[in-house]
């Protein structure tokens, strides 16, 4: 099982190097907490809009912010790959017997681990601010699973972009260009009941919304078959993008 071993070691390297950057660690821990507090305050009165599904906006917001974090951390994944390419680290690894797939998969796993950590902090802060994890431990696991799956998908996308364009600027530009509209056509910040009808339809085909709605059903203790469907769709989405990233990687190797 060389693939699993190599994935584990390469994953370990990524974790180790982020631990070596205390500022990075602090920011990635403080920032999500800041989101919860800031958005919670900014949109507090949203909960008073007639037809809004929750009494407390923070209750509504917590799972959404957990998903939002996975968007931001994961879209940087391709930049670190480009860094490894520029510094010759990738070349050196390619000249070893290391599994090619492990070189890619370890990065996706690292993104997922990072997001799980951040989402846990977000949920913790939200609970401190008065939100209640009505779905219990299982519900929380559903939130983390949704965040992790979305993170795998988006970091695969980011890595593929990096390999195809070889430009950091383009990774950021394309990620923002695609992700921001997806955020605002999801129920991350606003209840789906309050969306205009057409946007509600768009949301149904939006992977970010799959993640948000399954996370929210977990947090609210309303896990059911819609949750399962969303998670399965999300897993398929992650699978397709992982395939895309491996294709891009193979293409990159051929171009050398």
């Amino acid at each position: 099982m060389d693939f699993l071993r190599d994935t584990w070691y390469l994953f370990g390297r990524l974790v180790q190097s982020s631990i070596r950057m205390p500022i990075f660690l602090i920011i990635s821990v403080v920032q999500p907490a800041l989101w919860v507090v800031l958005f919670g305050q900014l949109f507090r009165s949203v909960a008073t809009i007639p037809g809004f599904e929750n009494d407390s906006y923070i209750q509504f917001l917590a799972p959404g912010i957990a998903i939002m974090t996975s968007l931001f951390s994961s879209s940087y994944s391709g930049m670190s790959l480009l860094g490894d390419i520029d510094r010759g680290v990738l070349d050196r690894m390619l000249a070893t017997p290391a599994s090619r797939a492990a070189l890619m998969v370890s990065r996706l796993l690292y993104s997922a681990a990072q997001v799980i950590l951040q989402a846990t902090i977000i949920l913790g802060v939200a609970v401190l601010l008065g939100a209640r994890a009505k779905g219990g431990l299982l519900g929380l696991l559903v939130v983390l699973l949704a965040a992790a799956l979305l993170s795998v998908a988006l970091s695969a996308f980011s890595n593929a972009l990096g390999l195809l364009t070889r430009r950091q600027e383009l990774i950021l530009a394309i990620s923002n260009f695609t992700l921001l509209p997806m955020i605002f056509s999801s129920s991350m910040l606003m209840s789906q009941h309050l969306m205009p009808g057409w946007l509600g339809v768009v949301a149904r085909f939006n992977p970010i919304n799959w993640a948000v709605s399954s996370a929210r059903s977990g947090f609210e203790g309303q896990v059911g078959s819609p949750t399962l469907v969303s998670l399965l769709l999300l897993a398929a989405f992650a699978g397709v993008l992982t395939l895309f990233a491996t294709r891009a990687f193979r293409r990159y190797l051929k171009s050398l």
């Binding site: 390469l10 180790q16 017997p97 290391a98």
Partner: protein, 322 residues
């Protein structure tokens, strides 16, 4: 069996750039072989193909008896590769870099720890072993890089410009490391754009220019081929070089004349004795000589004779013309 066997290797990149136009050479087991040439000559491309990082568009290459395109995975187990661009992970310590490298080569954990200690000691990195590589000097990073290439005791070591960018002290230290490895019987293929380096380290070398090998042999053989000395003449009016070249060629004892960058290089049997004759011949033909110098043949001259232009390590970094 040769450690490296390269036959008519070709590489054309997307976009039509011909990096290699049919390169052949072989390296015997335990031999140090250098590919010498300016940037863009095709040295690194050759390295990348032999280390399985790049696929050739034609020809064949075998390393340790294995075909690099068809048996890449097996080749990778038996070679060490130290790229031009040091692949050291800046944010990991020297020891961590070595450990990861060893794990990717699937060394058993108990042997790996001992091997890391051994290499850290061998390359004088013991004191820096637990510092992150970003605190290392250029020379230390290079040494760590080479140590990483040796972690699994490879049969063939590939060193792509091992001393480029190093200060003179680090360079001479790297040279002695390479000599020590060679004495231990390791087969080494190195590329360099320093003539002196190839002369010092390699038992045999090939001069690569525009994707082709233009001369090959031991440094002595190559120099001996150029019996006699080289006289360099600078004209007061360099634009007259063509005419002056014709005048020189008709002088008795002149074997060949090459013009490069406005300078005339004449090959003669005995430089010091030929100078007055050459200068007189030019002056009587109406060419004013501004400066003249002679020297014993060096690899510079081998390069000049083989390629028709003087050696400028960085002066010709364009890829081979398509």
């Amino acid at each position: 069996m040769n450690a490296i066997q390269v036959t008519d290797l070709k590489k054309t990149y997307a976009g039509g750039i011909e990096a290699l136009r049919g390169i052949s050479f072989e390296v015997a087991q335990g031999e140090v072989f250098a590919l010498l040439g300016p940037n863009g000559a095709g040295k690194s491309t050759t390295m990348r193909i032999l280390t399985t990082l790049s696929t050739p568009t034609g020809g064949e290459a075998r390393v340790a008896g294995l075909d690099v395109t068809r048996e890449g995975a097996k080749v990778r187990l038996r070679i060490g590769y130290v790229a031009q661009n040091p692949g050291v992970d800046q944010f990991a310590t020297g020891r961590e870099n070595l450990m990861l490298q060893g794990r990717l080569f699937r060394l058993p954990p108990d042997r790996l720890a001992a091997r890391c200690d051994e290499l850290l000691r061998l390359f004088g990195l013991e004191d820096a072993a637990n510092r992150t590589a970003q605190t290392y000097s250029g020379g230390m990073k290079r040494r760590l890089d080479v140590a990483m290439g040796l972690i699994h005791q490879p049969e063939v070591l590939f060193l792509d410009e091992p001393t480029t960018g190093l200060d003179p002290e680090s360079r001479s230290r790297m040279w002695s490391e390479i000599r020590r490895l060679a004495q231990g019987g390791l087969t080494i293929l190195l590329t360099t754009h320093y003539l002196e380096e190839a002369d010092q380290l390699a038992r045999r070398l090939a001069i690569v220019d525009h994707g082709q090998i233009v001369a090959e042999g031991t440094p002595e053989q190559l120099k001996k081929k150029l019996a006699g000395d080289r006289v360099a003449l600078e004209l007061a009016r360099p634009e007259q070089a063509e005419g002056a070249s014709a005048a020189l060629q008709s002088v008795e004892g002149v074997e060949s004349v090459v013009i490069d960058a406005g300078l005339l290089y004449a090959r003669v049997r005995h430089g010091a004795r030929a100078i007055p004759t050459l200068v007189a011949a030019l002056e009587s033909a109406g060419f004013e000589v501004a400066e003249v110098a002679t020297r014993r043949p060096s690899l510079d001259d081998v390069y000049l004779a083989a390629t028709g232009h003087a050696y400028h390590a960085d002066g010709d970094d364009k890829p081979a013309r398509a």
